[in-house]
Symmetry: D2
Subunit: 291 residues, 4 copies
């Protein structure tokens, strides 16, 4: 337990320090090529689960930008439960993502899975994602921190909120204070959804920490018809943004097709989320504002 | 498994029938003394966890009505983990609730815990609540159904969505089709909140069933600072209403003080929820509309 | 929290009292027609999930007695997730169970589901079972307690060990100190088994409470090939007995066929469990010892 | 899904192949310096959670060997929830473990946490442990597999049995068929124990896979008084061995003191486990047999 002195007041004893509100009362805003995460506007990150081809990615990137996304997502390295599943296009995918950034102006986030290719991924990506399975891969957290890039830290499916904050503390203790929490569902007994999206974590984190919090309802529910309603709920309870899986043809996706939106449905999602964002006085961030 | 024929189409095989959208595609609207649950407007139910005294209840009833609640809640019989905790004022509480209804015009919902006093509770209450611990108390479900009163069916903390729909099916198979689902959190490993509020259940139920769905973020989180954000999330993802615990002085409450809002905070909740309700085009139901 | 004075020593603060080791250091032994539960010997309770017919029950009773069971189980009232499933033969089943007791000399345990028929069930049964779904049905606990019969208290699938002890405390506070805990699995994310049998609860309860603890690996795993290994594990870690589902023809059982043993497999179970019981110096209780 | 042809019979469709009984009906026995894991005898692995000093490790190694352990455990790299906790002595610890092996003749297992030091750890260790947090760190699985050393694969706290077998399949698909499963508890709502030890996984794995299965009741319960009873249960239900934390002075341990046994209690554990091992006809493996 760490003793924290806040403005000369009574010392607090919390298991974390740098990530806590006691240490830094004002919220942290992370800037990526002119886009603010954790600021006054709501950000939408979108793209396919995995980069499958140049055409697929470029088409999706243009489409999600037009609909209202300001950041692009796409997996180059894919952790897969089975050794016989598609594992990602690796460096070629990174190069395609960089091209999409050039074409659309959208910065991108992609997952880094191993200390051995952190540097390679960091050469391309604007934000490094630590996947749910790696939330407590402490070597990876430190190595990713060392790149100086913002880190999108997904919650482990069996991690408590406190353990999650402590994983952020690992990154911050290694010198990198640009951490974005991403809620993506926890493992529970419910089998109707792939995971149980724990939206209470959003206001909890907002009270305990100064770091931004986004929500991934695609992985969090595993069912595309739930993605739009849960996106609206996430913004309503205070999330700073969303990360949404979109695929030109979900039924042909090499991974996570069941939870991916079509481009058309993504457009509807943005419209509905915009109304909620307006209602909570944090309107959507738009690309043209940054150009 | 039941074979369901929908419009002459291919038969569907689902474990339930009467509660399903296949059986009744249009939504069910339940009317209670002029208030519609599951209709075009969002309803807010509020009141103390338990009726503790005439003064406490009448004050709270007047206050929540003024703030925007249209239905009153209050426990007469309280299931308590410990045999040494306050168990409720029983029939006296029912009589006080009835008086509050007379004074404020608000109908009320209260929990029925045992088959032996279903008839007594039904003489007073407008809606019978089946508590989370009794979701699969099948004798109680049937006996409550037989009163003909609308049934507010809380989700068991270890119940899947399918088991919950099947509990509604028990009530409907006993001849009472007026069932309201109430999500109130499930048991998970997370200890930062009392339960994990499973909001994904709301759009899931809306797709699978025609019955109304409300959310109880007071029990679902167990922490009053989370109640307002999660209320907004609930309405954003499609809930038909909310059930909120309010107490004149939460720190002195005989039960659930930690999760109860003050009257002042409840007023703020209503204002913030109203903005979300507007954004999803289902404005708050107001008492004066029914008078 | 209750202040407990143990032999003049420092007061302990525990949420329960009567059920705790502090209150009564020596173990509680419950006697049922000459059979001791919680004593020096290991008891095996066996029988079908539900009484389906006189023939089925009498055959099973004779068979399990011959194999080594000393108590009979059989459901007269069956809580079923679906309203369209077999619900039990009710009073007729009680009468059949009583006949089986007369024929075989084995006392029997059966579930009581509602306060309205507690007295009826108590007229027949030697031990009243409170089912997992009713562990926190406090009216039922009190009413069952009042019969003076020993109560077999199943763990709720979402109940912590502390909540379970508190449910026993409800029974004891109502004046009946003859409570037997029965572990039957908890709800977790694992789908390979029906529930997750929590055997750690056995030594935990033995340390915290003086009451007997038995294990039901049939419900706890939901898969018959796991019943024998988990029975052995239960006795190895200190359980006082087992409750096992046996059916003359599991594939034709009206409920729980997947987890029921054939008579032949039950016989093998008894042999293998006997070796473990011997190794922990608590040999199997045998019927002939009581005749 | 993989199509598996077993003896010309009907093809089976399972998500895994190499790890399955269909592919290899006879059990896999892994030999480490003369000790067999998965063979006719029960093996006990013991040692401290973390190597803290040369003296601490050598004393513990001698003591656990004398009591009956045949393999040594000790952490050189420790994954810790907090960045401010003791993280292990790293390479110095590996060197100390090697010395202990020389002195006692006991081979050792230690955790490998990152692809960057797999080769270093493999130069010292006899068995590489993949920790629970890394069960789905697929780069690490492949890199560890490539060393050719046996891999002790701990279950992730939120991993289903099927996902766990698939993690083994990742190692086997990379060419290394020497995998040992180690059950160490899953995350559930129960807070009385640190994790819920899922012993049903033992007979499940034995039916589905040909690979050895051991149990770690120290992490699985998090409470030393439960370690001996759960060790007995593990062997009773078919585990091939145990991994036990022992510390000369648990209250001074730099990690996991609450779940570590004293040397004296470990000796009692071995005696009690020996009786169960005898009862299931798989007596303890003893060091002298291998010298």
């Amino acid at each position: 337990m760490i003793e924290i002195m806040n403005d000369g007041a009574t010392p607090m004893h919390l298991p974390y320090k740098l990530a806590g509100r006691e240490f830094k009362p004002e919220r942290t805003v992370i800037k990526v090529r002119g886009i603010e995460i954790g600021g006054d506007k709501t950000v939408i990150i979108a793209g396919p689960c995995a980069v499958e081809s140049r055409d697929q990615l470029l088409q999706t990137a243009r489409s999600v930008k037009k609909a209202g996304a300001v950041l692009l997502r796409g997996g180059a390295y894919k952790p897969r439960t089975s050794p016989y599943s598609f594992h990602g296009m690796e460096e070629e995918a990174l190069e395609i993502l960089a091209q999409a950034r050039e074409v659309t102006g959208m910065p991108f986030v992609t997952e880094v899975m191993d200390t051995k290719n952190v540097d390679l991924v960091a050469q391309y990506a604007d934000i490094l994602q630590i996947g749910a399975r790696n939330m407590q891969n402490f070597f990876l957290l430190r190595e990713a921190a060392a790149t100086g890039k913002p880190i999108l830290l997904k919650r482990g499916p069996a991690a408590t909120i406190e353990e999650w904050i402590l994983a952020a503390e690992h990154i911050m203790a290694a010198g990198n204070h640009q951490v974005i929490f991403c809620e993506r569902g926890i493992r529970t007994f419910e089998t109707g959804t792939r995971y149980t999206l724990d939206l209470s974590a959003v206001p909890m984190l907002k009270q305990l920490s100064h770091l931004p919090v986004i929500v991934d309802p695609s992985h969090g529910t595993g069912k595309w018809p739930l993605v739009t309603p849960m996106s609206k709920a996430a913004i309503a309870c205070g999330a700073d943004g969303l990360m949404i899986e979109v695929h030109p043809c979900p039924s042909k996706a090499l991974s996570d097709g069941q939870q991916s939106l079509t481009e058309e449905n993504f457009q509807k999602l943005v419209e509905e989320v915009a109304a909620i964002a307006q209602a909570v006085k944090r309107p959507l961030s738009r690309v043209d504002e940054h150009e």
